[in-house]
């Protein structure tokens, strides 16, 4: 270890700040989403179920919030043609 290593030592406070900013952006998104997303999933499922028999697990709702962009991703896997109601 060089005797000058103390000069190169990284300050810890900026690390703390950056870690918190990343973590809290994630946790805040999770916090708001739990209720809304579950509700969305239920409602979307109900609408689709009017027209197609569909599996509960085939509707996936994802909400992502970051500082610049927020996305709502809805992934619906349709049943095969034969099982659709005529």
């Amino acid at each position: 270890m060089s005797i000058f290593s103390f000069l190169a030592r990284k300050q810890s406070a900026p690390v703390a700040r950056d870690r918190l900013q990343v973590l809290l952006a994630h946790e805040r998104a999770l916090d708001g989403r739990s209720d809304i997303v579950a509700q969305l999933q239920q409602e979307i499922l109900a609408v689709i179920a009017k027209h197609f028999p569909i599996d509960q697990d085939k509707v996936v709702v994802k909400l992502d919030r970051s500082q610049r962009v927020s996305t709502l991703e809805i992934d619906i896997e349709m049943p095969p043609e034969t099982s659709a109601r005529a």
Binding site: Q11, S12, A16, R17, L20, L23, L24, E27
Partner: protein
């Protein structure tokens, strides 16, 4: 008009009770009628910090459950006559407090006091949610340290969703009080700066209390630092915060590093926001 103010943090040991006692005493010294309500059922400590531990006869749980009248449980401070304490009980029963009971007691306190300061227990369990439930404003006590900032963020989220005001769609006034701040360490990059914490939590700053030996001395003696040692920097920070709560415009003094002789000689100003 009375104000119900919760002093909360999520994390334990950051200075909630010290802050409740110091702000309460400062408000009372300014002539306001103040009651401090300890919500930490099972682990009461505000009585000790206020030096009233030997005067507790009835407590919050007794009043909530109707076993004692409010007037019987209130302890009037011996130093400032407009300052009162409603102690918590030492019962281990977690469900001793009910929402209806707490609401009734708070409403009764609103008739008698200008400020009802609810000292929240740590955590996010029932005691903490009841302490904030009926609040009009909140003081979020935070240390410049990662776990405290994260917990404060969580508590801010709860203030915006679990309080009566939030449920009614009204805004919840929230203030950040940064405690145990060490300007020398912040200057060396070893501790997050005031601006860092403010940027992360994004609520208005009520004050910055520097790390100070006077705070421990005051609690050793059972006397809020604003009463025991008004000239100490910590007491001044609390007194200024109390004035801001009363609506005065007082610039926030961030504790500064002690200036060296050379700095004084050249009249260099220490950084202050």
């Amino acid at each position: 008009m009375s104000k119900v103010m919760v002093v909360t943090s999520g994390k334990g040991g950051v200075g909630k009770s010290t802050t409740s006692a110091s702000l309460g005493a400062a408000l009372a010294q300014a002539g306001q009628n103040v009651v401090l309500v300890d919500f930490d059922v099972g682990l009461r400590n505000l009585d000790l910090i206020m030096g009233a531990e030997r005067r507790v006869v009835f407590d919050l749980v007794n009043v909530v459950q109707g076993d004692a009248k409010l007037a019987q449980a209130l302890i009037r401070d011996k130093r400032v006559e407009t300052l009162h304490l409603l102690p918590a009980s030492q019962t281990r029963d977690k469900d001793a407090l009910t929402e209806e009971g707490v609401e009734r007691v708070i409403n009764e306190l609103r008739e008698r006091f200008d400020w009802i300061i609810c000292d929240s227990p740590a955590g996010i369990e029932k005691g903490a949610t009841l302490a904030m439930r009926f609040a009009d404003l909140a003081v979020v006590v935070t240390n410049p340290e990662v776990s405290s900032v994260r917990d404060s963020d969580r508590i801010i989220g709860m203030l915006d969703s679990k309080t009566l005001r939030a449920e009614r769609g009204e805004t919840m006034e929230k203030h950040l009080l940064l405690t145990r701040y060490d300007p020398a360490r912040a200057a060396r990059g070893e501790m997050m700066k005031v601006e860092d914490v403010l940027e992360i939590l994004a609520i208005p700053l009520l004050g910055v209390v520097g790390e100070s030996p006077d705070v421990l001395t005051a609690s050793n003696l059972g006397c809020p630092v604003t009463l025991h040692n008004p000239s100490s920097p910590a007491a001044k920070a609390y007194a200024d915060a109390a004035r801001r709560l009363m609506g005065e415009t007082v610039a926030v003094q961030v504790p500064a590093e002690k200036r060296s002789f050379m700095d004084r000689l050249f009249g260099r100003k220490a950084a202050a926001a």
